[in-house]
Symmetry: C2
Subunit: 145 residues, 2 copies
């Protein structure tokens, strides 16, 4: 009933590092990958802290989270407006794509069935041109099987 209660998020080296790293990457990365990258560049951060930082960023709407097919969570720095993703299933490169008419469609279909408070989740997966080319080569050379 009172203030919205954002509990004074502290500015620490670790959280800054996680956000900065996400800023310079352009695809979805798992928490484990981000942790490894930070380690490599000498920025010692605990794995638990990476998870905590990512959760905080998701709560603040600065980062989008996606579940891979094997159930891992992948994170990406995103614009705060509603959008969807076109993701390369091979290299992870991601393009944000604008709101299709699906928005309206989803709302209408949900209403027809008596569903309220509707959200939707739409991701498009494909193989980007460079990866498709690489795979074609692989098939031709190495392994006939």
């Amino acid at each position: 009933m009172s203030a919205p209660e954002v509990p004074a998020r502290r500015q620490t080296r670790q959280r800054t590092a996680v956000l900065a790293l996400l800023d310079e990457l352009d695809g979805f990365r798992t928490a484990q990958e981000l942790h490894a990258l930070l380690r490599e560049r000498g920025d010692a951060v605990g794995l638990a802290t990476v998870y905590r930082a990512l959760q905080a960023l998701v709560d603040d709407g600065l980062v989008d989270v996606l579940r891979s097919e094997v159930g891992e969570a992948a994170y990406r720095r995103c614009s705060p407006v509603h959008h969807h993703h076109l993701v390369c299933r091979s290299c992870g490169r991601t393009v944000e794509v604008a709101d299709p008419p699906v928005e309206r469609w989803a709302a209408r279909v949900a209403a027809e069935h008596g569903f309220a408070d509707v959200q939707h989740q739409l991701e498009v997966f494909g193989t980007c041109r460079p990866c498709a080319a690489a795979q074609r080569e692989d098939r031709l050379s190495g392994r006939g099987r």
Copy 2:
């Protein structure tokens, strides 16, 4: 380049039981839930077997799989034609909904960005009428906070 190689899937009591159970349920259920249900009704099936049966069914296109927000896999008996789901986030009741124009939109957007071999994944979540009503009551009675 030879036979499609469906390696002679065997018909066993356990696989039949899993499929029969899915047939009579109408929402997405996790493997653990299905396993527990089978146990309850005296149909002793190992957990690993439930997972294997579900994977086989998914491979055969008889069952759809969805990842919950916490990363668990949930399964549901589905029609073999391409479709999407409208899922109640409270009780899990699911409605299959027909192909929206998204199909075309996804293909076009992907092509514009040079992505090939496109798939998409669209789910709509909401609260079905009975659940919405129940929640409204909860809020009024119990907890003013």
